[in-house]
Amino acid sequence: MESTKQEPLFLKLFMTAMVLFLILIAVQTFSLELLDMPTWLKVVVTLMPGLPLIWAFFIFRARYKAFDEYMKALTGEAFLWTLGFLCVSSFIYGMLAMKFPMPEVELALVTPFVFGSHGLIVQLLIWKDNE
């Protein structure tokens, strides 16, 4: 089965991207703390961890294309749920923030939230179809 054969390769590439991401986070943190750099270089160093995330996106896209029609449908539905939840919760937060002092939310957490909740929802949808 094509998608199953590609699964180990996907995991290897995805984990490589994540390790690279962690390394670049460490490089970013230490560089900004210890080195005296011009502003443009600080911007570059700060944005560097975004590169493996972009790579991870393309890895995920390649995996999606290898899915069969059922898994493609589930993936699409899971993204719809994730996007809906994200939009509704950010709208509620924004409405509340306009009227009340609200705790700060780190925007960098949106990406792990989206991918994490997407994976969880796919598993829930599979479980529901197996029920």
């Binding site: 089965m1 199953t4 899915f67 069969d68 029609e69 059922y70 898994m71 179809d129």
Partner: protein, 72 residues
């Protein structure tokens, strides 16, 4: 859409995974089609029918037909 995949699999003594491997989809896809949770594309329906050497209409039944004519 209802179907006879489970019966046909049992006749061949194939697991869902075995059928999935033969037609190049995931076991979850076979399970979802078998249970009527996912309507297969025409291509997938042909692939399934070919594996059992049957015609599509001998395997898949519209729900209306199933209800009115008492098909499985």
């Amino acid at each position: 859409m209802n179907n006879r995949i489970k019966v046909l699999r049992a006749e061949q003594d194939w697991s869902q995974q075995a059928l999935a491997d033969k037609i190049g989809v995931s076991r979850q896809a076979v399970n979802a089609v078998e249970r009527g949770k996912h309507d297969p594309s025409l291509q997938l329906a042909f692939d399934i029918a070919n594996q059992f050497n049957q015609r599509i209409e001998d395997i898949f039944f519209p729900e209306k037909l199933t209800n009115s004519e008492g098909c499985e």
